[in-house]
Amino acid sequence: MAMVASPGKRIRNRLAIAAVLVVTLIFLAPIYWIGSTAFKPRDQATSVPPTVFFTPETTAFVKLFTKRVQLRQPVEPETYAAAPWWEQRIFDGGERVLRVKGEVQLSAYPSRFMNSLIVAITSTVLAVGMGTLTAYGFSRFRVPAENDWLFFILSTRMLPPVVVAIPMFLMYRAIGLTDSHLGLIILYTAFNLSFSVWLMKGFMDEIPKEYEEAALVDGYTRMQAFWKIVLPEAVTGIAATAVFCFIIAWNEYAFALIMTNRRAQTAPPFIPAQVGSGLTDWTTIAAGTFLFLLPVAIFTFALRHHLLRGVTFGAIRK
């Protein structure tokens, strides 16, 4: 039987859709702003009022990835003609790409971006992995003073990170972990672990313990039961936890700013550092920011099915 909606219900539905549209637009506006600025010509990037229609160009991205110097004199027409398309964009801006022995010199951005990937992925894998095992332990075994332990684990997140940043920095300097990937990975893992334990404990509690007991009776060891039964059942929770941990590690700014400056610096402290005291090239910063948004978007999009089930997990009675 088809549902016949009453006029009141229809109006409410339309209002709800309109509200969702408005909220979506508000949320997407900054992303559109950054995305469009990255593709704008430099002189239009900061124009007031902002230009809405423009011819998109990739100059900002070329600048983002290369080291450049100012041209002292106009480039020779034949050099210009022989240069690849991206180098021509640089010449257009009155600069040239810095080459050492013919090799194009890359800017620091790719390596910072790489650092972000290394640190965020490794710490996410560690935090989710350890968190899953810990949560399983808390969920399945009688742990003495279980609630005290869980509270203790949560309490590690109660201080604002900035409060512990300076002491952490001094400790890190003493043991030589400043400006190292390992240092940041340890820090982010520790940071995310409490979150991961709590979230995964919720998911683990939802998995009936009879599943493993059935496997135990059938001749599997607890470890095998964990791998064959618990993990496949927990995939949704693991995906949701991984997305949250990845976002936190990927976006982390304060510790990265204090603990790193070169070798292990991640993208968040690097991007605003390009805002110089002189002329700021907003298109390049926008390009860097735009690329920085992509991994989280891709990761979240890839896990969206799990994520939707994950955040509503436990809300649905089976």
């Binding site: 009936p208 009879e210 599943y211 007991e213 059935a214 496997a215 135990l216 009776v217 059938d218 001749g219 599997y220 060891t221 095998q224 039964i229 496949p232 059942e233």
Partner: protein, 371 residues
Amino acid sequence: MANIGLRGIEKYFGANYVIRQLNLEIADGEFVVLLGPSGCGKTTTLRAIAGLEEIDSGLITIDERPVQDLPPGERDIAFVFQLFALYPHLTAFENIAFPLRATGETRAEIERKVKDVAASLRIEPLLAKRPSALSGGDLQRVAIGRALVRRPKALLMDEPIGALDAKLREDMRAELKRLHIENGTTSVYVTHDQVEAMSLADRVAVMNDGVLQQVGTPSEVYLHPVNLFVAQFVGSPVMNIVPAEIRPDGAETAVAIGGGPAFAFPGELAARLGAALPAGHELVVGVRPEAVRVAREAAPGLRPVEAHFIEPLGAYDIVDLKVGERLIKARTPSGFVRRPGEAVWARLDVPQVHFFDATSGDVLKLEPAHG
């Protein structure tokens, strides 16, 4: 297949003493039902046999081999859970094959064994489906298939049909009985449903508060309960338990209920009760509704009573009779007592009347009086 022995089992949950010195021998091929109210320790006992619960003291043997320190997987038993515990991410086939994969059997062997057990459970068409696509009864059939496929020494079942609706429960009960007769696997079955217990069991073990109350065939437990708990837990509607006043009355013994008319019992009863009941203890009479005989006409031995309330149950009626100050339930042919308030006649069927020590709860064993 194997026998199972439980000797001096004790189990604490913190300060709770949940299994108290439990002794039970289960013969090879026997179907034993652990029956009791929730929280009586029956499920804990079953889980202890499986190794899912550690015991604090005692000895558990399967096939005469002590197993209390072995992990569940090494006890060679199978367990059927109330909520089926089928793995949602695996098909019915894979669920049934799961125990076989633990022992590393060949693919062909697994295929053959799963098909065999599926055929005996009549679930072959369902093998490709996932649990989410199966009905309650089929879920439990698959779960039983997973338990039987390995041909375990014993099959342990924890309220396996408790989650199903009434009609389905009846079908599954018959099916479990058939499977037991076909396979002859030693089975231990936990339930709080006495109908299930009576219909399935070779022997029923009634538990309460962690204590094994009585072990016996269904009819032994029904006809000769050892104490008030068993008397009232087994049987529906429950046995009438009423205080009674006993006095010798010439050649007979008068048993007066609720200050009402006295029913006539054999003359030696008063002396035997006097010998069996410790001084100062109260006495109560237990009589099942079907042992209360109702007539519409007066006759020798019948006492006048009043029908108070009639519960028609189709095949028979349960009539509450007002006997003195007390109500006792009687089972009559349907429509036998026509309306509440009707004056009828009743007597108690002497061999089916039980006398209990109300203080200790134990049944009084009525030895012939001395001399």
